[in-house]
């Protein structure tokens, strides 16, 4: 099927004469606009949720997969020596791009949410943390653990997979739920517009019968209805999308402390996505109304 743009523009421009044949129906018109607007508004949020959880899952699986933590639990007097030994060992381990002991300030920042500020980290038997960044190939965790056990008895390797995997799964599941919501919202909108269109067609059964009697083709009659509902859905969805985007825009921005909520919203070119909603809503309305109109017309002589 070739997409004929002039047919679409002709359809949207409409036929002033044909438009007058169907009497205006204030109430169903407002309901259609409202339904399309509300659904578009909800779609914006479902979309924001899907994209944000998508980003989250990507980050967790990409960035965190490259990082692991080595914990040195040793008596205070041996801690520095064991840390240095561990760092030397890591430098010679294939697959490790870099390794770095966290500074006192960094460790204090990590503990601050639980113990409050000004914690004397240095004088407490708190394990020293070493951040290990893998290169492309990655290291062999089992081999590294064996070597560490031999040379740095106080070291425990945590490669994050234990807690990262369920989070990535959860984020992926959330993203899937977001997309399912969008599909459900679209289907609900189609159902609502079908009902509204059928109500309008039933209310105008007399008009349709007269048009048939004077020689109007089905396509002509259907177009008069389909065009109205498509334009209403387009208008309603555009307004709903605009409101939804404003609402997402004025969401309080995520703070560093709420890292895992990272920006429920759109980032960069993702702002283009919600703009797809109004035309998509119009397409849904077009298909739903056309189907309803054709079915109603087939029942007439």
């Amino acid at each position: 099927m070739t997409l004929d743009l002039t047919r679409i523009t002709d359809f949207l421009a409409g036929d002033v004469q044909a438009d007058r044949l169907v009497p205006p129906t204030g109430f169903t018109a407002r309901l259609t606009v409202f339904a399309a607007g509300a659904m578009a508004f909800l779609t914006v949020f479902a979309l924001a949720l899907s994209l944000a959880t998508g980003r989250l899952a990507d980050r967790w699986s990409d960035e965190l997969a490259r990082a692991s933590t080595l914990r040195i639990s040793a008596p205070l007097d041996q801690r520095a020596a064991q840390t240095a030994a561990a760092l030397r060992l890591l430098e010679t381990t294939p697959g490790v791009a870099s390794a770095r002991a966290l500074t006192e300030e960094e460790q204090r920042a990590l503990l601050e949410p639980w113990f409050g500020p000004e914690l004397p980290v240095a004088s407490l038997p708190i394990p020293q943390l070493i951040e290990v960044i893998e290169d492309e190939t990655g290291y062999d965790p089992a081999g590294l653990r064996l070597r560490l056990a031999a040379e740095v008895p106080g070291a425990v390797l945590d490669d994050h997979t234990r807690w990262r995997r369920p989070l990535v799964v959860a984020a992926d599941r959330l993203r899937l739920l977001g997309w399912v919501s969008i599909v459900l919202i679209g289907a609900t909108m189609a159902a609502m517009i079908t009902l509204a269109a059928q109500a309008a067609l039933a209310a105008n059964a007399q008009v349709i019968a007269v048009l048939r009697l004077v020689g109007a083709r089905d396509g002509y009659i259907a177009r008069a209805f389909v065009r109205r509902f498509t334009l209403r859905a387009l208008g309603g969805a555009a307004a709903g999308t605009a409101l939804g985007m404003v609402a997402v825009l004025i969401l309080p921005s995520a703070q560093a402390e709420a890292g895992f909520l990272t920006g429920l919203g759109f980032q960069g070119w993702h702002w283009v996505w919600p703009l797809v909603i109004p035309p998509l809503g119009a397409v849904v309305a077009f298909a739903a109304t056309r189907h309803a109109a054709q079915r109603t017309l087939r029942e007439l002589s």
Binding site: Q17, L21, L211, V214, R217
Partner: protein, 225 residues
């Protein structure tokens, strides 16, 4: 133009019309009469493709209605002007738009046809009522507007179902006059009516055949009319 061949029409088991054969030839003038409920309206509906016969064949302009698509039927109706018993207007549009409805739905440009429409409205004496809504018209005015709508596409056939049903004698004669004029212009006319005076009045002006539906059959009515 319109041919019926051994047509039968049944509703829910009971036969309303049976074994009906008739050919409407160009320029002919027919009256269709019979008691109420005899099937006059059904007969006319068969003639403009609103009903498909349960047996036999109806051919509109040479094509069997069974072989016609819905669009074909729509196109055939543009060549058949119908004055419906209950006029069938769009109540939210003024008379002028209702009369022009066949032009609008067939995609004619209203601007080009404006003169045609004005002439037609003056012919049926509704020039002054062009802007009125159908509900504001009297019975006679509605019937004349319905006739104007039936002929605006310059159809070859005009079917009128009780066009004088609820109007006074003087108005009936005016309407008949309009139909007779159309017949003289070469149009085929079929009028369903049970008004014998109307038929007698017509017979003095035009060569009219009178058909009667009786006992489910179509018969030529006697010469006494």
């Amino acid at each position: 133009m319109i041919e019926l061949e051994q047509v039968a029409m049944s509703y829910g088991g009971g036969e309303l019309l049976g074994d009906i054969s008739l050919t409407l030839s160009p320029g002919s003038f027919h009256f269709l009469t019979g008691p109420s409920g005899a099937g006059k309206t059904t007969f006319l509906k068969l003639c403009y493709g609103a009903l498909v016969p349960t047996a036999g064949h109806v051919r509109l302009f040479g094509t069997d209605v069974r072989d016609m698509s819905r669009d074909d039927v729509a196109l055939a109706r543009r060549r058949i002007g119908v004055v419906h018993q209950d006029v069938q207007f769009l109540d939210h549009l003024p008379v002028a738009d209702n009369v022009a409805l066949p032009l609008i739905v067939s995609g004619h440009d209203r601007g080009e046809e404006a003169d045609n429409l004005a002439e037609l409205l003056s012919w049926v004496g509704l020039s002054k009522r062009a802007g009125a809504l159908p509900a504001e018209l009297s019975g006679g005015e509605r019937q004349r507007a319905a006739l104007a709508r039936a002929v605006i596409m310059s159809p070859e056939v005009i079917l009128a179902d009780e066009p004088t049903g609820n109007i006074d004698w003087e108005m009936s004669q005016r309407l008949l006059q309009l139909l007779v004029e159309l017949n003289r212009m070469g149009k085929t006319i079929m009028i369903a009516t049970h008004d014998m005076n109307l038929i007698r009045a017509a017979k003095s002006q035009v060569q009219a055949r009178v058909l009667r539906i009786s006992q489910r059959r179509l018969q030529a009515a006697g010469a006494d009319l």
